[in-house]
């Protein structure tokens, strides 16, 4: 068995009654993308030598979720205030407050995960969305771990024969190597 290490980022997508989990793993020769649904798992291997580009752009998903959850929490807070003002029993207020726990946890987790993004990996034959890298922070951390392997493979160096030890995450350079394209 090839030594592998898991990269940051995960994603769970629900399709009706079933759900699909996505993970990205690092191996000495390829990037392994796992799609797990129930007892079945489908994997895609992207060999470092074949990877042409990785694109990571911002999306509004986390912002929209924050707004929705905030609206829900504020509405419930107002409802509790109204119940308290109308002299409702404490048990009713307690139950209503209990229903606020789940959206509150979701909001905190969403804020902790940071802004959302969409990451796509390009090879000569495929354009693969990497759902596990749906948050900017995780995506940049994971890409920083993968970059040395891709660069080594495309420089023609032999892949590491030793078990893969993911290198310490390096901050991805903030200064752009190139600027925005010229107008027109």
């Amino acid at each position: 068995m090839i030594q592998m290490s898991r990269l940051p980022g995960r994603s769970v997508k629900a399709f009706g009654w079933s759900s699909q989990r996505h993970q990205l793993w690092l191996s000495p020769e390829y990037l392994l993308y796992r799609e797990i649904s129930g007892y079945r798992e489908v994997v895609k291997r992207y060999y470092y030598g074949d990877i042409q580009a990785i694109v990571c752009g911002p999306t509004n998903a986390s912002r929209v979720l924050t707004i929705i959850l905030t609206v829900v929490l504020v509405s419930m807070g107002l409802l509790i205030a109204l119940l308290a003002a109308s002299g409702s029993p404490a048990s009713v207020i307690a139950v209503t407050a209990f229903f606020m726990v789940l959206p509150a946890i979701c909001l905190v987790v969403n804020l902790l995960l940071g802004p959302s993004c969409r990451t796509t990996l390009y090879t000569a034959t495929s354009e693969a969305p990497l759902y596990s890298l749906g948050r900017k922070r995780a995506a940049e951390k994971a890409i920083a771990l993968v970059l040395p392997f891709i660069e080594a493979a495309q420089r023609g160096e032999a892949p590491a024969a030793e078990p893969v030890q993911a290198p310490a995450p390096e901050p991805v350079g903030e200064s752009p190597a190139w600027g925005p394209p010229s107008e027109g």
Binding site: M1, V55, G57, T120, L147
Partner: protein
């Protein structure tokens, strides 16, 4: 020469890429949103098929699949002469498409070709759990769980490293359920 179209993550419009490799931020000309990009040398490499357009010269071996093309390597699987188009570099080996296909049919030996896995440990755990919860069906389900555990013990359940503790626990659970049923049925038989 570049054939791949890299798209903006936000609006799906093609990005006008710089003719250089590396990482950086590019603003989409269509939606004006900044996109992080990492471009690699493979993006600008000449396609292999173009290199294979060499017409056979006199005195050179030809490809077994394309008789008018010059052979550039020999298949490590079957020994066929291959042109640049037919030559597939597979983990350092030169193989033809037939040999790749042949290896793909024997996935257990070539785990790099396998794309689908079944988590048998989870199935066995589910069955073992059902055999306990649905007590009256346990006598039928527990043996199935034990059989599956035995049958798929050596199959690769996942493409990544994993431990077999979950499977062992499930098999013990199924065995205990079956033993419980055997004891109950034996007691019932003796009492009659």
């Amino acid at each position: 020469m570049r054939n791949t179209i890299v798209r903006c993550s936000a609006c799906d419009h093609a990005l006008s890429l710089p003719e250089a490799v590396g990482g950086g931020t590019l603003t989409c000309a269509h939606c004006q949103k900044p996109t992080r990009l990492w471009l690699f040398p493979a993006l600008y490499q000449t396609k292999k098929s173009e290199a294979a357009q060499v017409v056979l010269d006199e005195g050179h071996s030809s490809c077994m699949n394309h008789p008018n093309k010059r052979a550039v390597s020999v298949c490590d699987g079957c020994g066929k002469f291959l042109c640049a188009l037919c030559d597939i570099d597979w983990n350092g080996e030169h193989l033809c498409s037939n040999c790749i296909e042949h290896r793909g049919s024997d996935e257990s030996k070539h785990s790099d070709l396998r794309t689908e896995y079944i988590h048998y440990d989870r199935i066995v755990f589910g069955l073992a759990l059902f055999s306990v919860v649905l007590f009256f069906l346990g006598a039928f389900i527990a043996p199935v769980a034990l059989f599956m555990g035995w049958r798929y013990w050596n199959e690769p359940w996942r493409p990544v490293p994993y431990r077999k503790w979950g499977m062992i626990f499930s098999l013990v659970l199924a065995f205990v359920t079956m033993t419980g049923w055997a004891t109950y049925l034996t007691t019932l038989f003796i009492s009659f």
